[in-house]
């Protein structure tokens, strides 16, 4: 994965955006990312799906992704083209699911407060910094743990497990 990620912001300032809002349970009968993506954020922002473009970022408040364990929430957002999420904090299972999918989730307190929809945001993973190129503001974020970085670099938990055990022979 690249160490610099740059994209357009979609800001969800409110805390506790839950998985029912990210992908309502009525769509859980699907698990195809493209199909789930059609309903991403539907109950909180009707036009999110029409606004989002590949490579965009979500910038959110605290406890993003609380609620159910549905990994469908991560798939729906990734399917919609979201490249990374930066939130004040993440709910536990959502954060786990993101890492397990090799999907970047960064905790950076206060970024949502100083970001507006459409701002040009750059994440520098090595420096542990976020820059808002539209406003010139920047923030430092909590660096990911070495284990989390390993998971991301492997592309998620399953490739990581496979790498360590040899593909196709997990019991070996």
């Amino acid at each position: 994965m690249g160490r610099l990620i740059r994209g357009r912001a979609h800001v969800f300032k409110r805390a506790n955006i839950n998985t029912d809002e990210i992908i309502p349970a009525r769509y859980l009968t699907a698990h195809d990312e493209a199909e789930l993506a059609l309903h991403a954020m539907e109950d909180i922002s009707r036009d999110f799906v029409s606004r989002v473009r590949p490579g965009d970022l979500i910038i959110a408040g605290g406890d993003f992704g609380c609620g159910s364990s549905r990994e469908h929430a991560v798939w729906a957002l990734r399917g919609a083209g979201i490249a990374a999420i930066v939130a004040d904090t993440f709910a536990r299972i959502f954060f786990r699911n993101a890492l397990n999918n090799g999907f970047l989730a960064i905790e950076c307190a206060g970024l949502a407060e100083i970001t507006s929809d459409g701002d040009d945001i750059e994440l520098d993973l090595d420096a542990g910094a976020v820059r808002n190129h539209t406003t010139g503001a920047s923030r430092l974020f909590t660096p990911l743990t070495p284990f989390a970085l390993e998971l991301l670099e492997a592309g998620g938990l399953l490739p990581y497990v496979a790498q360590r055990r040899g593909v196709g022979s997990p019991n070996a």
């Binding site: 029912d20 009968t29 609620g67 364990s69 990994e71 299972i93």
Partner: protein, 443 residues
């Protein structure tokens, strides 16, 4: 020298071959029990297939039941269940509970003796924390975690910090463990225990039945916790012994174990609690809740649809009728609970009161079927989440409460203190104009 540890730390240490673990440490823990249902398992099975992994690590550690959308609500859910069933056969998984024997997984697992004190358990479902009532480390995970555990029998965890809740005193009549946990969540917030273990202690907890303890551990996740846990005491051991002959280890927290925070609660000072839309942390004592009218009353879910819950609801509904304009839906959590309720004559009470009774299913708890809400409809429910859109239309409103409060509200037609009915003779209350007679909002 041994390092003092909490139960959670001890279980994780024992399962990752460490003498001791500290909060924040990443461990790879052996998983004793893997629970699977039809929503999150098929994606995990597909992932395994993509990786070329064809065998589950140890089928005897896997327990499977379809629960969310059973009986299949449409073609898509029929296909999910079909996929689940085919996989169960392929893998030779013996612990599969088919429709008629099925139940909401978190209620079914303890009932059939699959969870033992001291174990580690995961399920692709956030309310797996329920199993912590047996002194086990149980947590909800996503499909990828589920796939990895099915393949390897192990899973990574960051050892959580533990918060300690000391609950003393007895719950007053009409106040239940649901009220206690809604109260706790209202005190600490929906992320008050984020990434942490919630450990419950105290004379109140010790007197609670396993059913009541399960309700408390079930909702730990609504405070963001990784797990909810209660030391396995005699009550827990007897419950498990009646259902399993397997050996187990009981872990207790060391007296000098370190806690991230502690909260003391006097249960005797509590009143019925109702969580207002749209967060489980919006709990208020019933005296402060407006007696708003309701369209639906729902008694179901892994939180509060065990036999004790149904009995409490029946106590209030017996000899009464639900109010005009209210739909009341009772969904026992498992098939065994359903049969027990039938034998005890509870269905007759529900039916005569004007309720409908369904087979066990998650159903409307997650807006699946069996009572999905329409636009601007208001429901009082024994479930665990009242997020926007959780039970149906995003403009619907869900209030969370105990089975007694839900039953009382169904009778009154508006959100109502169950103690009004518990103290009264059914006939005199029935004769009275409910809504005017009930002192809600006055304290």
């Amino acid at each position: 020298m041994t390092v003092p540890m909490t139960i959670t730390e001890k279980i994780l240490a024992a399962h990752s071959a460490c003498d001791s673990v500290r909060p924040g440490q990443i461990v790879n823990a052996v998983i004793d029990l893997i629970v699977a249902h039809e929503v999150t398992t098929p994606p995990a099975v597909n992932m395994l297939a993509k990786m070329g992994i064809s065998r589950v690590f140890d089928p005897s550690r896997v327990v499977v039941t379809p629960d969310h959308f059973v009986p299949n609500k449409d073609i898509q859910t029929a296909e999910l269940t079909r996929q689940l069933r085919r996989w169960v056969e392929e893998q030779g998984i013996e612990n599969y509970y088919e429709l008629g024997d099925h139940g909401i997984c978190h209620a079914l697992i303890p009932e059939r003796g699959h969870i033992l004190p001291g174990q580690t358990a995961i399920c692709g479902d956030s309310h797996t924390t329920t199993l912590g009532a047996f002194g086990a480390f149980a947590t909800g995970v996503g499909s990828t975690d589920l796939a990895a555990t099915l393949a390897t029998g192990e899973l990574w965890f960051k050892v959580p910090e533990t918060m300690r809740f000391n609950v003393s005193g007895a719950l007053p009549p009409g106040v239940y463990s649901k009220d206690l946990i809604l109260y706790i969540i209202s005190r600490i917030g929906v992320d008050g225990a984020r990434y942490r273990a919630m450990e419950y202690h105290g004379s109140c907890i010790e007197t609670l039945s396993m059913e009541a303890r399960m309700t408390i551990c079930n909702m730990a996740v609504e405070a963001g916790a990784k797990t909810g846990i209660i030391e396995a005491d005699q009550t827990a051991v007897e419950y498990v012994r009646a259902r399993s002959d397997k050996d187990f280890t009981v872990y207790v927290s060391d007296e000098d174990a370190e806690y991230a925070a502690a909260l003391d609660i006097d249960a005797s000072s509590l009143e019925p609690v109702v969580a207002l839309p749209h967060l489980p942390s919006n709990g208020r004592f019933i005296g402060e809740v407006e007696p708003v009218s309701i369209d639906q009353a729902y008694i179901g879910s892994c939180t509060n649809a065990r036999i004790e819950d149904l009995r409490e609801a029946a106590r209030i509904l017996k000899g009464r009728r639900i109010a005009r304009g209210v739909r009341a839906i009772v969904v026992p959590a498992t098939s065994a609970i359903w049969r027990q309720a039938l034998k005890e004559g509870l269905f007759e009470i529900f039916s005569e009161a004007g309720c409908v009774v369904s087979t066990a299913t998650c159903g409307a708890c997650l807006g699946g079927h069996m009572g999905v809400l329409g636009r601007r409809e208001r429901c009082i429910s024994t479930t665990n989440r009242n997020f926007v859109g959780r039970m149906g239309h995003p403009e619907a409103e869900v209030y969370l409460a105990s089975p007694a409060t839900v039953a009382a509200s169904a009778v009154a037609g508006c959100i109502t203190d169950p103690r009004v009915f518990l103290n009264a003779d059914p006939m005199t209350v029935e004769a009275a104009p409910f809504q005017d007679d009930i002192h809600v909002g006055v304290s």
